[in-house]
Every structure is written in structure tokens, then in C-alpha cells.
Amino acid sequence: MSSTKAARIGEEVWKTRIDKVNAELVTLTYGSIVAQLCKDYEGDYMEVNKQLDKMGYNIGLRLIEDFLAKTNTGRCINFRDTAETISKIGFKVFLNITPTVTNWATDNKQFSLVFEENPLADFVELPDDGRAQNELWYSNILCGVLRGALEMVQMQVDAHFTSDVLRGNETTEMRVSLIRIIDDELPPGDD
């Protein structure tokens, strides 16, 4: 699917088929989740990252069905197509943002998503305890969402943030790599 076609589908679905909710509500709800996790794990930010990823994974498993139902897209032909679909339709429909797809690896199995805006992190400042800045990935739930959603369409991927403006970096960038295509499962007893 070409980039412009994907953008058009994303825009159209966003405008007509999505119920909207107050953005502040989303930001505050997500923020309180992260804050509570940090408190519960007493500053073990690696664990918080892991939990956010797990939560995102469970969301992704279900979100993909809603995505397929609302946008009526079929299977993507290759991983590049997948990247365009994720950035122009997926993120558009659920967060009304369009991260840029860049930094393709030569084997076409890895790419980066660069986020110019991130509604989850509006008005957020990471705590000043010296560790959060280096260890916490605030929007890590998004990585889990991508992982869960793509697993349901038979792609095993790894997604992780490589930089975040909340940490003082220039950009917010997520690296997505295709580990393998998951084959169809055969019924038990078949070889």
C-alpha cells in the first residue's frame, strides 16, 4: 500500500468511525498508571518498563481486532508495508499522530518510528532522582502494544525506545525489528 493511500485511509477512518475522548483524560490516566507503577516498584524503573510493556502487549492483542474491523485493511505484503500501515493508519486512528518511518536497515527488517508529538507525555517531567532519566522509558506501553498487535498477525517483533525527549534527547524514537514470521499452526497430531 502506498504511503499516500495509507494516509488517506487513516484520515478517513479517524474522521468518520472513531469515537473521540478528551485528550486530557488520556494523558492523566496514563500518567497516573506510570506514577503508581513507579511508586509500587519503589523506583525499580527496569521493572516498570517491563510492566508497561506487558500491559501494552495485552492491549495490542485486542486492539488489532478493532483495528482490522474499523479499517478493513487486509494483510500487508511485506514489512515495509507494515511500517507504513502502523504509522499512517494505526497511530493515526488511535492517537491521531503520524510518526515518521525512517532508518530502514539494509535487510528491510528493522525501522525506526520518530515521534514528533506524543499525547501520552504531554506536560510530563521525569522525576529528578538521577535514575529515572537514564532508566525509565515513559511511553513503553506503546512498544508492548505493537508487539502484541503484530504477534496476532503472525509477526514476531521487538520494539524498544532508543531515545526520548523526556530524557533530554533530541527526538523520541522507537526501533522496531522483525524477528521472524510466525507460521500457521497445524492442528495437534499433524506433522
Binding site: L61, R75, E185, P187
Partner: protein
Amino acid sequence: MPIYSFYIFDRHCECIYVKQWLERERNSLRPTTSSGASIINSPLSGAPDKRISAGTIADQSLRTAPGRLSVQDDAKLVFGVVFSLRNMVRKLSGPEDNFVSYRTGSYKLHYYETATNLKFVMLTDVKMSNLRVVLHQIYVNLYVEYVTKNPLSPVEHPGGEGVAVELFELGLDRFVQTIQEA
């Protein structure tokens, strides 16, 4: 135009939902209304459950129709058929092609598979026209809305737990009735 039955299979080759709207021929499926859904919705959890609850009613009719299959076996056979046919179609004309339906002398089977490998199967009367759109509607308007978005309903069904969401079943019944009347 009668609709005989409806199945949903997940990507792990498990039957996660069965609904049969058959007449008296089907012995152990007398309780096919939503009150009997608990029996039907655990298709792979072993025959004993089903027979105990349908015991008294089933005894008589079991004798009249000895060759009838249990729901579980039926679901397994249906899955085997659609899985083989779907692979056959892909082998014959390429991975983009999709198996749509088949017809025998007495019934027609309609098939729809989502990108998440969720398979929707419906058996109807021979003269029914293509129900692919209908199965897509069931997926979009009933399954995604009432099952996927229900946080208490599991995504994976180990041991054949199955879908047991009342809103989904009611919606399905109503939807199927409108098709049958059309």
C-alpha cells in the same frame, strides 16, 4: 432459509464458539438456546459433561439417530475440512487467494478468515447466497465489540475454554434471525 450452524475457530486451531440451530434430528443438542450455551461453549472439554446434562432427553433420541456426531467431534471435523480446503486453495492459486465457500447437495458452508487467523464458519441451506459479508459483519459488529473489547473475556483459550459472552450470543441470535427472514 434455514441457517444450520455457526463456528468460530481461533489461530491455535481450537474451536472457541459453536452455535447450532438444528431441528429435532440433533439429539444431544436439544438445549441449543442460550441457556444451553455453557454446554456448547466448552466443545473440547470432554463428552461426559454433555451427556450427563442431556441424559434423559437424549436417551430416546440417541436411539433414533445412532450415527450422529457429538458437538465436539463435529467441530473438529468442520475445522479439518475448512483448514484443508483453505490450504488447498492457497496452494492452487497462490497465497492471496481465499477459500470462500463450498456447496454439497444438501448444505452450503461459508468461510471467512481475518488477518488474525480467526476463522468464522457458517453452514446454511443450499440456496443461500454468499454470506462472506455477513460473517465479516459478525466479526466487526459482534465479535470485536462484545468479545475482544471485553477485558474479562480471554484472548487465548487454552483447553478450549471458549467464548461465553451473553451480549455476543444475543446479538448473534438476533442478527441470524434477520438474515433468515430476509
